[in-house]
Symmetry: D2
Subunit: 238 residues, 4 copies
C-alpha cells in the first residue's frame, strides 16, 4: 500500500529529548481546582480526603513508573523527580509529561470513590496539566523542592489564618482579606494564637509541609521489588 | 516571606510556545494497549465497545476544549486538531498536550463502565501518551489526516484477514502470519472473499475508515452553543 | 583507538532543524555599529559607502549560497530569505545562521578597502550577530519585509530631519531631539520643506526604502548560472 | 507611524536561551577547508602558518569576548567555553554562536596577510560554521575537551604516517591508504620509526595535541586587564 505519499508529514515532528545528565522534574497542577473544590465541598483551608487522594494517585504513578525517584505534593500539585541518569522514553519531554499526567489523572478518577464515597464524579471531570523542567545540579533540584515547600508554607499559613477569621472570627471574605493585607508571617501567627488560641506549629504537618512519596529499599535481606510510600517530611528546606 | 532565595529555579523553565499561524495536531496513543486489550478480552479484529468508548471520550474532550475544530480516531489513538489561529494557553506545547491527555484519560476511566459494565477496571489502568506537531499549510494537515487513515486501512485489512484465517480458517497465529507475508491488498481481499465469503467493502465503515468528531453549527437560526458529534467519514483521503 | 570513552558527549548536542514548509529568514545586525560608525567617520544621516559595502557583502553571500532567494538590507542589518522548500543543511538553524553570518563578515572585511580606501580597519573589527525566524505563509513573509521597510522609513525620516536641524539649523543634539519629540511624519516633512527646502520624497531611494538583492533569471535563452544584483525597490509594502 | 500592522511578525521569533548553570561550548569549523587548503597550498600534514592564524584569530575572539574562559583548537576547528554562570546575551544561543563565528571570521580575514603575505585572499573566502552545546557538569566538559583532543591525536598520527609514506616513501595516495587500512596506533608508530626514522613523540606538540588559549591572571600585584595567550597543553586528557 502506497503510504509513502503521505508519510512525509512525519518530518514535521520535532525531537524534544531533554538534556542528558540533568534532573528531570515533571510538575502537574489541577486545572480549575478552585471551582472543582467548591463543587465537591472540599473542606477549608485543607481537605484531608483530597490530599489523601492526591497522595494515593501519586503512589500509583510511582508504582507504574519505577524510574521516578521521589515525588513531592502540596495542594493540587505534585512534582515527580527522575534521576539525572534516567533514560526512560529516551528522555522525550512530551512522552514523559503526557505519561505522568495521564497516569495520575486515571488513578485520580479511579480512586475518587474510595475517598469521596458519597459524591460520585459528574462532568466536567477533574483534570491536570503538566510540564517538565530540567535541573543541572543537585543543589538546583534541592532549591526547586524548597521553592515548592516554601510556597506550601506561605499559602497554608495565609489560608489557615484567612479561614480562622471567617469561620471563628465571623468575618466575611472581603474583611478577612483586608485584615491580612500586608501582614508578615509573625503577624498571622499572632492573629491565630491571640484571637483563636491556635498554635500554628501544632497544625498537622501534612498541611504545613506537604507530602513526599519515596521508595523504601529494605537493606538487610535481598531487595524485593521496591514499594512506594508517602509521608510528610520534617523538612525539605535546604 | 523570603521566597526569593529559591525562586531563581523558575529560570530553568524553557518556553515551548508553538509557532503561530500553523495547524496544531495533538495525537494521543494508548500505552501497552495490546496487553490491556487482552486483559479485558477485546474482540478481534475490532471491538466495537472499545471504539465507542474512545469516541465518547474524544467527544468529552471536545466539549471541554472548544478550541478543537476536529478530531480523528482509529484503534487506540486519537488526533485533535486546533485551528492555525488558535491561541489557547498561548500555544504552549506542554500545556496543550497534557491537558488533552489528562482530559481524555479521565473520561476514558469515567465512561468505562458504561461500555464494559461487567468488567470493572483494575490496576494497572489504561493510560495514554501524547505529542503535538504543527503543520504550516492546510495541505500538510490534510496529508496528516490521510496518513492516519491510510494507516487505519492497512492495519484493518491485515487484521481482518488475519483473524478470519484463525477464527474461520482454523490456522494458528504463526500459520496466519506466514500466509499473509508479502501479500498485497488485492490478495487479502481475494482471501477474504474466496475462502470466507467476506466482501471487505461491506465491513463496517467505523472499522475500515476510523471515526471523526466534528462540530455541528446549525445555520438557519442564531447559533447556540456548539455540540460535538462523532461519525465515520466516507473518506478523508485527499 | 578508544575514542568511545569520550564520544558520549555527542549526545548533548540537541537538534535544531527548522520546521519544514516554512519561509526561513536569517537577519544579521551590526554589533555596536553606532560606535563603529563614529570611529570611521560615517556620513550622517546616511553613508553611501557603508551602504554600498553592505550591499556588496550581501551579494557575495548570495553568490556563495544559491539557496537564498532574496535579501533586503537597511542600515547595518540584512535579511536573507530561503524558500520554504529549502533543504540546505537539513534546515539546521545554527548551521544556517552561522554560515550566513560568517560569510557576510568575511566579505565585509575583505571588501572594506574598496569602499574606504583611506581608512584601513583596526581592531576591534566590525562584526555581526544573526538569528533565524520561520514564517508559515507568504503573507507572513511579506509582512516581515514590510515591517523592516517601515522601520527603515521611520528611522530615515527621523534621522534626515534630525541631522538637517543640526547641520543646517545649527541646533545641538539635545535641542534637535526636543524639537522632534512627539512629531508625526507630516510634521517632519514640513520641517524639512519649510525650514530647509528639502522635499523628503526627492531623497535617494536607497536611503528611504532600503536595498533588495534578487536573482536575475534571463528567460529567452537557456538559463546560465544565476547572478545576484542589488537594487532599491520602488516599494516592498503590501 | 502605524508600524503595528506588521509588528505581529515579531511573535514568530522563538526564544533560544540556553539552560542556566551549564557550561556552554561554541565550536566553529572551517567550511570546505580541504578545498581551501589546496587552493592556498597549505603544507601537509600540517601547516604551521595556518594553525598560527587560527590561534591568532581565537585570541582576538577572546579579547573581544571576556566571558570566554578557555578555548581549544585543532586543525580548522576551535571550541570556545563559557563558564556555567555566564549570562552574556541572556545565554541566547543564536546570539552567542553568531557573534563568535562573526568575530572569528572577521579576524581570520584581517590577519590572513600577516601569515600568508604572498597569497592575498580571493573569493570564495574562508568561512566557518558554528554550534553551541551545553554540558551540565565539569566532568562532561572535560570529556568534551578530551573527545576533541583524542580526535586531534588520531587524525594527526594518521596524517603524519600517510604523508610520510607519500613524501618519503614514494607511495601514491591509494597505496598509502591501503597500507594504513586496519592499522593500530602502534603500527603507525612502527611504520614512522622503522621506515622513516621518525619518533612520533618528537613531533611538535602543537600538531599532536592542539592549542589552548587561556587567560593569564597575574597574582602578586593588583590584577590588570586580562590578556589572552595560546599554548600547547601537555595534555587535556582526563
Amino acid at each position: 500500500m502506497a503510504n509513502s505519499k503521505y508519510e512525509y508529514v512525519r518530518f514535521f515532528e520535532q525531537p524534544d529529548n531533554l538534556l542528558p545528565n540533568t534532573w528531570i522534574v515533571v510538575r502537574i497542577d489541577g486545572r480549575s481546582f478552585t471551582k472543582f473544590a467548591k463543587k465537591y465541598n472540599f473542606g477549608k483551608p485543607n481537605d484531608r480526603r483530597a490530599l489523601d487522594l492526591m497522595n494515593e494517585s501519586a503512589k500509583s504513578v510511582m508504582k507504574e513508573l519505577p524510574d521516578i525517584v521521589v515525588a513531592y505534593g502540596v495542594s493540587d500539585e505534585y512534582s515527580f523527580v527522575f534521576h539525572k541518569s534516567c533514560t526512560l522514553f529516551e528522555r522525550r519531554k512530551s512522552k514523559l509529561v503526557s505519561t505522568i499526567v495521564s497516569t495520575f489523572s486515571a488513578y485520580y478518577i479511579h480512586h475518587w470513590l474510595s475517598f469521596f464515597p458519597s459524591s460520585p464524579l459528574e462532568p466536567p471531570l477533574p483534570t491536570f496539566d503538566g510540564r517538565a523542567v530540567v535541573y543541572p545540579s543537585l543543589q538546583n533540584l534541592r532549591d526547586y523542592m524548597s521553592w515548592r515547600q516554601v510556597d506550601c508554607h506561605v499559602n497554608n499559613l495565609y489560608n489557615t489564618t484567612f479561614w480562622a477569621l471567617i469561620k471563628k472570627g465571623g468575618l466575611d471574605n472581603e474583611d478577612a482579606e483586608r485584615e491580612l493585607a500586608g501582614t508578615l508571617a509573625k503577624d498571622k501567627n499572632e492573629i491565630l494564637f491571640s484571637r483563636f488560641g491556635i498554635n500554628y506549629n501544632n497544625e498537622p504537618e501534612i498541611f504545613r509541609k506537604g507530602s513526599v512519596v519515596f521508595r523504601s529499599y529494605p537493606t538487610p535481606t535481598p531487595p524485593p521489588k521496591s514499594t512506594a510510600e508517602s509521608l510528610t517530611p520534617s523538612s525539605l528546606l535546604a
